[in-house]
């Protein structure tokens, strides 16, 4: 495998334009027709790496040529989900790759203006990206009539002011327009009516950064980068009680075992694996028996979880699974946008029950009641936030039923190690 996304990650500083080199992929792209490039992307298995996994070429071809102008391209750089920090690597380690990828992507999509929506906690990264944009503009790579090709594009770096829900694509549009980030109803989809009512394609950063590699090296090369049926490469990450938490570019299809035990160095000494969330906090648990599964969209979906952003969170045998569930749910309680009742009120209600059980005041039937709540919250919420929030809870309540029932029956945590928790 050849590192394409992470080829500059080893440098002590992110490369400036001179170190980054020519925008070779941009030049290669501008020499071809957008339709041909789109066709090449269509021959790969490139999907949205922000979590949804929608085929990229289909998304990019959704805006009709005669749709009202301007057409906007938005880069969603708002990863706020626990376990997901891959886009941070790209932002902090190679901003010119981002600028080049946006130019190539916007050329293929036929966009008039691009916005990079950066989560507020990555302010320093956003400054680095702004510097890269300015440098590229000074070199004639951003702006009007880029490299004499007739193609023009301006890139806006927008620093958000925090909040997980901004990563939901329609909420992101509201945030970018200077409103509260409440999701919008679909249809109309953003590709029909997005920013200021104009056609808008919203892309995860890593996904877009994969495109220059395809343009430069071709479809067959791209396919050959994967393993176990995967194509291309992927930024995989692992966090939790492992020796070497981190993020690595690896062949798509790498197994969870290789990720956890080789790249992340295995669990801390004396700790053993109980389970793991494969794709960030809003996914369902996988178990040690699933370690050899290829980490890609389809194989994780077959295991009834989600590939998500493939940011693995490890649960070890020294963390109480109930404590783990509460900490995850606390995140979602706090980040609910508050727009719809099942999510705004249901998640805190579930939280109060979970905390009561943890405090030794569980009652028989609590676990079943929580499962019932999960089943009511998920389908009755306005956006995908709440279904994502209940995924780890629901799967944890089922997988760790005995642990939870023991909390209830014994009126105490079998781990006897409940860390102090703050109200959410």
């Amino acid at each position: 495998m050849e590192a394409v996304l992470s080829r500059h990650f080893h440098l002590p500083e992110p490369p400036d334009l001179k170190t980054y080199g020519d925008y070779r992929a941009l030049k290669a792209a501008l020499a071809q027709k957008p339709a041909d490039l789109l066709d090449q992307i269509g021959q790969t298995a490139l999907r949205g790496y922000g979590g949804a996994g929608f085929p990229l070429a289909r998304k990019w071809s959704a805006v009709a040529a005669d749709a009202p102008r301007p057409h906007y391209m938005v880069i969603n750089l708002d990863e706020t989900e626990p376990g997901s920090f891959k886009d941070r690597k790209l932002l902090y380690r190679d901003p010119h790759l981002i600028v080049e990828a946006i130019l190539v992507g916007a050329y293929i999509q036929g966009s008039d203006r691009a916005f990079v929506f950066v989560r507020g906690e990555y302010a320093e990264g956003a400054q680095g990206l702004q510097r890269a944009v300015d440098e590229a503009r000074a070199a004639g790579l951003v702006g009007r009539n880029i490299l004499g090709s007739g193609f023009s594009l301006d890139i806006d770096v927008h620093l958000s002011a925090g909040r997980y829900i901004c990563g939901e694509e329609t909420a992101l549009l509201n945030a970018l327009e200077g409103r509260r980030a409440n999701p919008r109803s679909k249809p109309p989809f953003p590709f029909q009516q997005g920013l200021w009512g104009k056609p808008t394609l919203i892309n995860n950063l890593e996904t877009v950064c994969q495109v220059p590699g395809v343009v430069l090296n071709g479809v067959d090369w791209f396919k050959a980068q994967g393993v176990n049926g995967g194509e291309g490469t992927k930024l995989y990450s692992v966090c939790g009680p492992v020796k070497n938490p981190g993020c690595w570019e690896l062949p798509m299809g790498t197994t969870a075992r290789e990720l956890i035990y080789e790249h992340a160095g295995g669990l801390l000494d004396g700790h053993a694996l109980t389970a793991f969330l494969p794709g960030g906090a809003s996914t369902a648990f996988l178990l040690p028996e699933h370690l050899d599964a290829s980490m890609n969209f389809d194989s994780v979906a077959k295991l009834r979880s989600r590939f998500g952003t493939c940011g693995i969170i490890v649960l070890d045998d020294q963390t109480c699974p109930l404590d783990f569930l509460i900490a995850i749910n606390a995140f979602f309680v706090r980040e609910s946008c508050g727009f719809c009742t099942p999510c705004r009120d249901g998640l805190p209600y579930a939280h109060s029950i979970l905390e009561r059980i943890e405090a030794g005041q569980g009652r028989p039937g609590d676990r079943e009641h929580l499962l019932e709540l999960c089943a009511k919250i998920a389908p009755n919420s306005f956006c995908a936030f709440a279904p994502g929030a209940v995924m780890p809870m629901e799967s944890g309540l089922k997988l760790f039923a005995d642990v939870i029932e023991r909390h209830i029956a014994e009126g105490a945590c079998p781990w006897h190690a409940v860390p102090a928790r703050r109200a959410v």
């Binding site: 376990g83 906690e121 620093l159 958000s160 200077g178 980030a181 981190g246 995850i328 606390a330 980040e335």
Partner: protein, 158 residues
């Protein structure tokens, strides 16, 4: 008060969007960097620039956690308490930060140097337990590293 250059800079930024309100977050961030937090006067200045009412601005400030309506210390330390950091000791770290700053979470320390806030996942899960001191990432933190972070030479206190 904003000076002429600052006002012109913000007006130009706001003007480059199809609708002025899209410049509101940038304007509020700019004002917050200048004043430390968004007091009434800051909101009035933002209102004049973005064409939004004070209430519309309050709607934004109360929604976005990085916008601060109340006074904070000269530095703001945000400690992540989401799952990776939680497992790595965030609860104890928050307790320690409260002890070091001598005030409850969210309040400026007596010398005005620092305010400690719990925060959701900072996207630094590989550095758990992690924190942001203003805009700079730190982690993994233990009690000693935390003490160094909020030490007077780092936060400008006495």
């Amino acid at each position: 008060m904003l000076n002429e250059d600052e006002r012109a800079h913000l007006a130009a930024h706001i003007g480059h969007y199809p609708e002025p309100r899209a410049g509101a977050i940038y304007t509020l961030q700019f004002l917050q960097r200048k004043y430390g937090h968004l007091h009434n006067e800051a909101l009035r200045e933002a209102s004049a620039l973005c064409g939004l009412s004070i209430t519309q601005l309050e709607e934004l400030v109360s929604f976005y956690p990085l916008l601060l309506r109340r006074p904070v210390g000269r530095r703001v330390l945000r400690i992540c308490d989401s799952i990776a950091c939680h497992m790595a000791g965030a609860p104890a770290l928050l307790d320690e930060a409260v002890r070091l700053s001598g005030v409850p979470l969210g309040q400026p320390s007596a010398d005005g140097a620092v305010t400690v806030l719990p925060h959701v996942c900072l996207g630094l899960c590989d550095l758990a337990p992690a924190a942001l001191l203003d805009e700079a990432a730190h982690g993994p933190l233990d009690a000693a590293a935390l003490a160094a972070l909020v030490a007077p030479e780092n936060t400008g206190g006495q």
